[in-house]
Symmetry: C2
Subunit: 197 residues, 2 copies
């Protein structure tokens, strides 16, 4: 063992992060050693501060520092809920600035093989919100995996006896892409859902 123990520990901590392999972890750890103490402390404290302060909103489960979150408070009374898998999925909506309704984070999608059943997700809470907040539309924005599809199907069933409109995002060719490189399933869906000019 050439590396000092606390350096090895730091390397293995970095290597435990998603998408960071052992070589990158080593590079990051050596980089930290070359930084000023203040900047190491700053990263260290930011980690603790984020873990301490940021929690899921008790209503919509979007990460927030205040409860209920600014989105829930500022859009109280909105009649549309956009259902997403995880908190970061709301970013493209907010960045596009096209949506001014509420959100609901499920915390995942159904995945029976990994032991994720309906009770592990915030699905009952969604049904509850739809009934109590007098929601008129639920937009299912859940990605396009088979797991996401079956999750959407379950939610659709559970909301069947309410009057709420259920929609999902359109599927098709993304902007700016070359037709030549579109995969078969996307092409199939875009073809089936073709619209009149």
């Amino acid at each position: 063992m050439v590396e000092p123990q606390s350096l090895e520990k730091l390397i293995s901590e970095f290597a435990s992060l998603p998408g960071i392999g052992h070589k990158t972890a080593r590079r990051l750890a050596y980089h930290m050693l070359s930084r000023s103490r203040e900047r190491v402390v700053s990263l260290s404290e930011s980690l603790l501060a984020a873990a301490e302060k940021v929690k899921p909103c008790s209503v919509c489960h979007v990460y927030t520092e205040v409860d209920p979150c600014p989105l829930c408070s500022s859009r109280a009374g909105a009649k549309i809920i956009c259902v997403v898998e995880k908190s970061s999925d709301i970013l493209p909506f907010e960045n596009a600035g096209i949506y001014k309704g509420l959100y609901h984070v499920l915390g995942g999608v159904l995945s029976p093989l990994d032991g994720v059943g309906p009770e592990a997700l915030y699905i009952p809470q969604l049904v509850d919100r739809v009934r109590k907040e007098n929601i008129s539309e639920v937009i299912l924005a859940l990605g396009s995996s088979p797991e996401a599809d079956s999750t959407a199907l379950l939610i659709d069933c559970l909301l069947e006896d309410t009057n709420v409109t259920r929609t999902r995002l359109a599927r098709g060719i993304p902007m700016g892409s070359d037709l030549e490189f579109i995969d078969e399933i996307t092409m199939l869906r875009a073809f089936e859902s073709r619209v009149a000019l």
Copy 2:
């Protein structure tokens, strides 16, 4: 601004790491939120511990927790010094297990454009060690950039009046590589340095 402030801070901290772009930084930050508090604390503390405990050895400037470092202590009296640019450059030597001599980390290579002159590197300390420790060979293991070459040249000049043998690592075709993809300069060097069978 959709993301809570402490989450944004953490994202920008991650994004300041080398090779980590904004998207990866966001992914890492959200990942930290989904971790248990203990594991966040563990990373946070590992950062502080490494910054606190790991310092360059006062003799060879390899990162260490004890001073002088285990390499300097266990190999005291060795007559060969291998000169490297940075501490992590000793790993391939130690991993190959081929070298049992001393090391000397320069802390960089000459780079006049970036304001790195000889006085910013541990070159005087190297000359000192060569004289005082009665060294017989200095191996310059400094990479193959023009900056590394001029650093090696300077050290070679400074050691000229000692009796020390100066060597550098061989340059040529690396193991396992396909000739087709060897760059021109490597090929030129391998050709010029060809050896009799």
